[in-house]
C-alpha cells in the first residue's frame, strides 16, 4: 500500500484519527519540555543577557514558517500533477499555521532586536524576508477565500504558490543584496555542521524545533480533516439542492 492510498479522503481521515493523539501529545510534550528547560534551565548569555531565551521561540517559529510554505509548495505540485483533493486541502490547511509561525517569528524577532540592536524594527535581510513571506501567505489565503469554485481555487492558489516560491527565493537574494544586515549567522547551520550557539542552549533549542514541527504536522492533519468535512458537506448540500 503506497502513500498515494491516503489521497482517498476516507483513508486519510482514518489515518488522521489514528496518528493525531500521538502527534498532539508528543508535540505538546516537546514544546513544553523545550520551553521550560530553555526558560528556566539555561543561563544568560554574556552578551545578550536573558534575551537569548527568546531563541527557543524565534528560531523554531522561523523554521516552521519556511517549512510550512515548502510543504504547501509540494502539496500544490501534487494537486496540479495528480489532482488529489486531499493534497490541495492540506496546502490550504497549512497556510494559516504558516502565517502564525511567521508572525511569531517577526514579533519575537522585533522584541529580541529591540534591546540588541536598539530598534524595534530593522530592515535586516532575514526579518525583511520574513515580512515578504508574510505577504505571500496573506495573498495565498486571500485567494482561497476569494474564489467560489473549490477546484478552481485549488488550481489558482497552487500556481500562485509555485510562482510565489520562485519570487520568494529571488526576493531573499535581492534583500540580501539590498542590505547586508545585522543578523548573526544561522544558529544551526545543518549543512556546514558548525554551530554558533553553545551546547547549553542547543539541546533545548532542538527539542523546541522538533516540538514546533510536530505541532505543525498535528495541526495540518486536523485542519485538513476539517477542510475535507466542509467540502463533503458542501457537496452533499449541492446535490440535495439539485435534487430538490
Amino acid at each position: 500500500m503506497s502513500i498515494w492510498s491516503y489521497a482517498n479522503p476516507v483513508k486519510f481521515l482514518t489515518l488522521s484519527a489514528r496518528v493525531q493523539p500521538v502527534l498532539w501529545v508528543l508535540s505538546l510534550a516537546c514544546v513544553a519540555t523545550g520551553l521550560i528547560w530553555g526558560f528556566f534551565g539555561t543561563p544568560q548569555d554574556y552578551r545578550q543577557g536573558a534575551t537569548v531565551k527568546i531563541i527557543y521561540l524565534h528560531v523554531p517559529a522561523a523554521l516552521m514558517a519556511i517549512n510550512a510554505w515548502f510543504m504547501m509548495l509540494v502539496a500544490s505540485l501534487i494537486w496540479l500533477i495528480r489532482r488529489h483533493h486531499v493534497s490541495a486541502l492540506a496546502a490550504k490547511a497549512a497556510a494559516p499555521v504558516g502565517v502564525v509561525m511567521t508572525v511569531i517569528a517577526l514579533l519575537t524577532g522585533a522584541i529580541w532586536g529591540q534591546p540588541m540592536w536598539g530598534t524595534w524594527w530593522a530592515w535586516d535581510p532575514r526579518l525583511t524576508s520574513f515580512l515578504i513571506l508574510f505577504l505571500f501567505y496573506l495573498g495565498y489565503i486571500a485567494l482561497w477565500e476569494a474564489i467560489e469554485d473549490p477546484d478552481t481555487a485549488a488550481d489558482l492558489t497552487s500556481v500562485l504558490c509555485l510562482v510565489g516560491s520562485v519570487f520568494a527565493v529571488l526576493s531573499r537574494y535581492a534583500v540580501q543584496f539590498w542590505n547586508q544586515g545585522l543578523h548573526q549567522g544561522t544558529s544551526v547551520p545543518v549543512a556546514t555542521g558548525g554551530r554558533s550557539v553553545d551546547d547549553v542552549f542547543f539541546y533545548p533549542l532542538v527539542i523546541c524545533m522538533i516540538g514546533f514541527g510536530l505541532l505543525f504536522v498535528a495541526l495540518v492533519f486536523y485542519r485538513t480533516g476539517t477542510e475535507i468535512r466542509l467540502r463533503r458537506a458542501a457537496a452533499l448540500r449541492a446535490r440535495a439542492g439539485r435534487a430538490a
Binding site: L135, A142, L143, A146, I147, V163, G164, L170, S171, A174
Partner: protein, 218 residues
C-alpha cells in the same frame, strides 16, 4: 497578434480608455512627497530615485485591472481562449500594450518629475534606464496577477496584494540602479540582475499567466 496589439492600443488610447491616468497618478504622488517629507532639497535629492521608482510602480499597479477585466466582461477573453492564437502569445501582446500605454509614458515622464524632486544630474540617465528595463517586467507580472483575479468581483485590492510581493525584486534592483547612478557609483550588479529578471519574466511568466487564465475561465 498585431491586430490584437493594435486593438488594445486603440482601446487604451480612446477616451475612457484610461490612458494618461497612470501618468497623472505618477505626477500626483511625486507632488505629494515633498508635502509629506518636507521641502529640504538635500533630503529630496536623497530619496528621489526611490520615490520615483515607487511612484512608477504604483501607477503601473493601479492600471492593471484594466488589463483583463474589460475583456472578461465583454466576452473577448473567451474568444481569445478559443482563438488559434496561442494564449501565451495573446497575453504577452496584452502586456506589451499595457506597457506601451502605461509603463513607457512613465519612463518618459520620470526625468521631468525628477526635476521636482531635485534628482542629482547623473541620476537622470540611470533612472530612465532602470525604469525602461523594469516597467515591462511590472506589466508582465501584473498580467499574471490580473489572470489570477479575473472574474473576482472587486478583485482590485486582492490583485494589489498578490502582485506587490512579486514586484519586490524588480523594485529593489531597479531603485538600486537609480540610486547608485544618482550617486555616481557602480551600477553593474543591480543592472545585470534587473535585466536578468526582466528577460526571465518576459520569457516564462506568460506561460503561468495563460495556465492560470485557462483555469480561471473554465
Amino acid at each position: 497578434m498585431r491586430a490584437l496589439l493594435i486593438r488594445d492600443l486603440t482601446l487604451a488610447l480612446r477616451a475612457g480608455g484610461g490612458f494618461g491616468l497612470g501618468l497623472a497618478f505618477f505626477l500626483i504622488v511625486t507632488v505629494l512627497v515633498p508635502f509629506s517629507v518636507g521641502p529640504q532639497a538635500a533630503l529630496l535629492q536623497l530619496i528621489a530615485p526611490g520615490v520615483l521608482w515607487l511612484g512608477a510602480l504604483l501607477a503601473c499597479l493601479l492600471s492593471l485591472d484594466r488589463l483583463l477585466a474589460l475583456d472578461f466582461e465583454d466576452g473577448t477573453l473567451d474568444l481569445l481562449l478559443t482563438a488559434p492564437l496561442p494564449l501565451e502569445g495573446a497575453l504577452s501582446v496584452k502586456a506589451l500594450a499595457h506597457w506601451l500605454t502605461t509603463g513607457l509614458p512613465l519612463v518618459l515622464a520620470a526625468p521631468v518629475l525628477g526635476v521636482l524632486l531635485n534628482l542629482a544630474t547623473p541620476g537622470y540617465l540611470w533612472l530612465v534606464v532602470s525604469l525602461a528595463l523594469g516597467t515591462p517586467t511590472l506589466s508582465v507580472i501584473g498580467c499574471f496577477g490580473a489572470a489570477l483575479t479575473v472574474g473576482i468581483k472587486r478583485g482590485g485590492l486582492l490583485l494589489s496584494l498578490l502582485v506587490l510581493p512579486l514586484y519586490v525584486p524588480t523594485l529593489i534592483f531597479g531603485a538600486e540602479v537609480a540610486r547608485r547612478g544618482a550617486g555616481g557609483q557602480e551600477v553593474t550588479t543591480p543592472l545585470l540582475m534587473l535585466a536578468g529578471i526582466t528577460c526571465a519574466v518576459i520569457a516564462l511568466m506568460p506561460f503561468a499567466s495563460a495556465a492560470v487564465l485557462r483555469m480561471g475561465l473554465r
